[in-house]
Structure formats: C-alpha cells, structure tokens
C-alpha cells in the first residue's frame, strides 16, 4: 500500500514501525546514548527507537531535542525514519541535521506496531508492506 505524505527531511529509510500513542520529547524522555524510552510515565517506556520507523502524532519539549536526535544518529541509535501526523520544528530540525528521513501529514494513518514500511521521504510517500 502506498501512502502519500509531505516531505520534511529528505532521504530513504525503512524498518519496523514503532507507534508512540502519546507525544514524545527527545530531550528527557529518550536516553541520549541508547535510544531507549526512559520516562516511566510514557507508554513506550523500555522500548528502543533505534532502527525503527517512529510514528507519532506530534512531539514536544525543549529545543535541545534537535541535538539529542543528532547524538543518537551519530551513535547509530536513532530511528531509521520518522512519520509524524503534524511536524513541529524541534524534531523536523533534528531529523534534517541528522540526515534521518522524515515525512508528515500521511493521507491515511494505517501504521501499526511491527509492520514493515519503506519511507521515501524525497518523493513524499511511504510504502506499507503486508
């Protein structure tokens, strides 16, 4: 299935989907060195974002979050791509400076945990494999 999206950060990435049911802040809620969600109050507590295609509604929190994403990418612990319902500047900038493909506004939200997706951010679509 092909889902059209808007390009936020260019590139191609693929992986298994990890859906965050709540907004997520890269600064404070994700361990800066491992990529594991470290906030006990977040529904993804204990899960790692490394190598996954992170799907979330929106993000929040401090501008430092952009640099945290960069640090994760440097250590190979960042998501392989990100799909967001409505992008906001902190994660968008983080994705761009880190070279992580990112799209937002998917025409349909069909993303479920464990599904394999290919994110063609340059061309503005996501392929969902059954």
């Amino acid at each position: 299935m092909i889902i059209k999206c808007r390009t936020i950060s260019r590139g191609y990435g693929e992986g298994y989907v990890l859906v965050s049911p709540k907004p997520i802040s890269f600064f404070g809620q994700i361990d800066r060195t491992t990529g594991t969600v470290c906030d006990e109050n977040h529904p993804l507590y204990g899960e790692s974002v490394a190598g996954r295609v992170l799907v979330f509604q929106s993000s929040r929190g401090s501008t430092v979050g952009s640099y945290v994403i960069y640090g994760l990418a440097k250590r190979g612990r960042a998501p392989s791509a990100m799909i967001c319902m409505e992008a906001e500047p902190i994660v968008a900038v983080g994705a761009i400076i880190s070279g992580i493909p990112m799209v937002d506004r998917p025409e349909k939200n069909v993303f479920k945990n464990g599904v394999f997706v290919k994110v063609y951010a340059d061309r503005g679509f996501v392929e969902v494999l059954d």
Partner: protein, 398 residues
C-alpha cells in the same frame, strides 16, 4: 513554497553540504508554517550556545559544519560562563574548555563571539520593518515590539541556518496580519521597579500562553522597563511581541474588536511575588542581577545602592551584562565602585546556565521573574525573587 533558481540550487547541494542542510531547515520550517517564499534578513542572533543546554551532541554537530561562512551579521546567545573571567566564577577548566570549543566552532563559521541577550544594546539595532532571525525570547520581544523589526522565535539551528543563507521563511511575525493584538491587558496597579514589569510579563505569559498582548495603563519611565516586561512574557508564554498604548511603534493599528480583556491589579502583582516565588530572606548567599543583561543605567543604579555599603563576608553579588556595557561601566568608574563594594560584573553569560551546584551555592536571590523561573528549573538551587533594592540589601552591610 516558491523558491528562486538560486535557492533551488542550494537545496540540491550545489553550494556544498552545509548550505544544503541550512536551506533544508529553512524550507522545512517554511512548509510546516505555510510560508509562501523566503525573505532576506539583516542579522541573526543564535541560541544553542551554553554547554549546559547544547551537550556533547551539540558540540559534535557544530564542529561538523565546515567550509562555510555566515552571510549576515550574526551574534550569539549567552553562554554558561564568562568567556574571559570564568576562573573567578569558580568554573572548572574541563567545563570551560567544552564551552570555549562551542564558541570557537561558531567563530569558524564567521559568527561574532559576542554572547548577549541584549544585542540591541550593543550594536545590532535593526530598523523599523526590517526582517531578522533572532532566538533569545526577550531579545525577540524587544526587537518586534520596541524596535518594530520582524522576527519569529527562532531555535538555535534555524537561526544559524538563516545566518548561513541570509534568509528566513516568510511566516508568523514577518507578516503584518500576525502582529495585531489578541488580548488587551488593563494595568491598574502602579509599577515601580523592573521586577514589577518582569512580574507583569510573567503573569500575562502564564494567563494567555501565546498571542500578542496589548498593554493599557502603563506609565513607563525608561526602556529597561520594556526589556524586563518582554523577558517575563517570553518565559511563561511563547509570546514574541506586545504593544504598549502610546509607546510602541505599532500600537495604533494593533487593536481589533475581537480582543479579549484581562485586568492586572495589585492582587495579581502580589500573587506572583508572594505565592509563586519565595520572597527574599536572610538565607541568601548569592544575588544575581542581569536577566536580561544589564544596561549601563542599571549598573549605575546598582553602584548607587552600594554607596557606603559592602557585600557581607561569604556572600556574593554577581551582575551580568555584555562585554560592551562592562567596558563602558569601566570607563565611567561604575565598575570600580561595584568592585570595591565586593560585587563582580560578569559578561557573556547567564545565571540560569551557570554550573551553580558544583560551585557549592544553595540559595540565591534574583530581581527577574525570568531568572527565578529558569534558575530554579535548570540549576536546582533555592531561588528567591524580589526587587533590586531588597536583593542587594539581603547580602550587604554598612
């Protein structure tokens, strides 16, 4: 969004990797906020300077930006330490070396190593209607509201990207229609001190969160009051602009019929002083003044308060300003009066970012609601809030 052929070329990477990344940031933000095109800017003021907030990841990123030079005049936000006199602050060489690496990385990009939240006091003065890309929230408020320049509240990377390209996306406060008032604040209490103005801003930010407040009933005496007001507004709200009736340059066309109304009375003023923060008491070890950075007039005021008094043994008075204002204070003998009374003037930095815990400081007092908010949040020391006279009085003796 419409891009010129030249802008498209940069986006494709034909002018190198760094300019490509910078252009990607500007275009992505433009897309997110529905900009129609890019517009030229005349200056940038860049956040993401202190090691405390940037971290090692931030240093890695900045040092990866090579072979590029900013296109417009660019300055920095305050750092965590005085870039020259950090040893006097008690900062460790390890910490200082990280901070100085950050400054050098910016310098290599052509950014001026001038770290201040008051660029408009030290030589970067945009004219009315000029587009700029500034980060620091109180500077953004001052530029939009008092000078009538136009800027959004930029993040660190987006301000740097704009400095490198010399442009920003045309959205938000760059557009006249977004600069109208959204709420009318009737101020019926007489504001006396800069702390009072800071408190008014803090309260309004908390009440409205975002939007453009319009103040009625203010009886302003000096521009430092506007500096303090904007700093308060930018702390509790994502506010980037305000109007003051009869004072700021765009007030006359700012009001529409749809605005909401709020009243600021003595009750609200006292509420912030007494309930929100701890009043200044006897346990204070360090008084920190200069959020935003002090003007020459403010330093002179402190010098007058210190006449025939001195800082008590074991206590500290730290005043924060920009390098330029400190030099002026030196020329005017103000610095000498402050030092002889036991005070110290630091430049380039900010109390909320200083590594206070490792300096062994437990109780501080400030005269700015913004400083009270961030210092409590970021340094985890006990912070009390009061006006300048009470702060200075708490650690000095005749």
């Amino acid at each position: 969004m419409y891009l010129t052929k030249e802008e498209e070329r940069i986006l494709k990477g034909e002018e190198g990797y760094v300019k490509q990344k910078a252009m990607e940031i500007i275009v992505a933000l433009g897309d997110i906020y529905g900009a129609d095109r890019l517009i030229p800017i005349s200056s940038a003021q860049i956040a993401g300077v202190s090691y405390t907030s940037l971290g090692d990841e931030g240093i890695e990123w900045l040092e990866s930006l090579r072979d590029c030079h900013v296109a417009v005049s660019a300055m920095l936000n305050p750092a965590s330490i005085d870039l020259e006199n950090w040893r006097d602050m008690g900062v460790s060489p390890e910490y200082a070396s990280k901070q100085l690496r950050i400054i050098n990385a910016y310098k290599r990009l052509g950014v001026k190593p001038i770290c201040s939240c008051t660029p408009y006091l030290v030589g970067v003065i945009p004219r009315f209607g000029e587009h700029i890309a500034w980060s620091e929230s109180s500077a953004v408020c001052y530029a939009n509201s008092v000078l009538g320049a136009r800027t959004n509240r930029e993040g660190g990377p987006s301000a740097l990207a704009s400095a490198i390209i010399g442009k920003t996306s045309n959205y938000g406060y760059h557009l006249v229609e977004n600069r109208k008032a959204t709420v009318l604040i009737d101020v019926s209490v007489k504001l006396e001190t800069l702390s009072d103005y800071s408190t008014l801003g803090y309260w309004v930010g908390e009440m409205i969160g975002s939007g453009v407040p319009y103040f009625r009933g203010l009886n302003l005496r000096r521009s430092e009051e506007l500096k303090a007001l904007g700093a308060g507004l930018g702390t509790t709200g994502s506010i980037a602009m305000y109007h003051v009736e009869g004072v700021t340059p765009e007030y006359a066309k700012a009001l529409t019929d749809q605005v909401e109304r709020l009243n600021f009375t003595d009750r609200e003023l006292r509420g912030i002083y007494n309930k929100h923060f701890k009043p200044v008491g006897g346990s204070v070890e360090l008084v920190a003044i200069g959020c935003p950075h002090m003007s020459l007039v403010e330093l002179e005021e402190v010098a007058k308060l210190l006449k025939n008094r001195r800082v008590r043994r074991g206590h500290k008075l730290w005043l924060f300003t920009s390098i330029a204002v400190k030099r002026l204070a030196e020329r005017c003998d103000i610095l000498d009066i402050i030092r002889r009374a036991g005070g110290e003037v630091y430049t380039d930095c900010c109390i909320a970012l200083a590594p206070l815990k490792s300096l062994g400081v437990r109780n501080i007092a400030v005269d700015s609601a913004k400083a009270a908010f961030y210092t409590r949040l970021l340094t985890r020391v006990n912070v009390s809030f009061g006006n300048l006279k009470d702060c200075i009085g708490s650690i000095t003796e005749v």
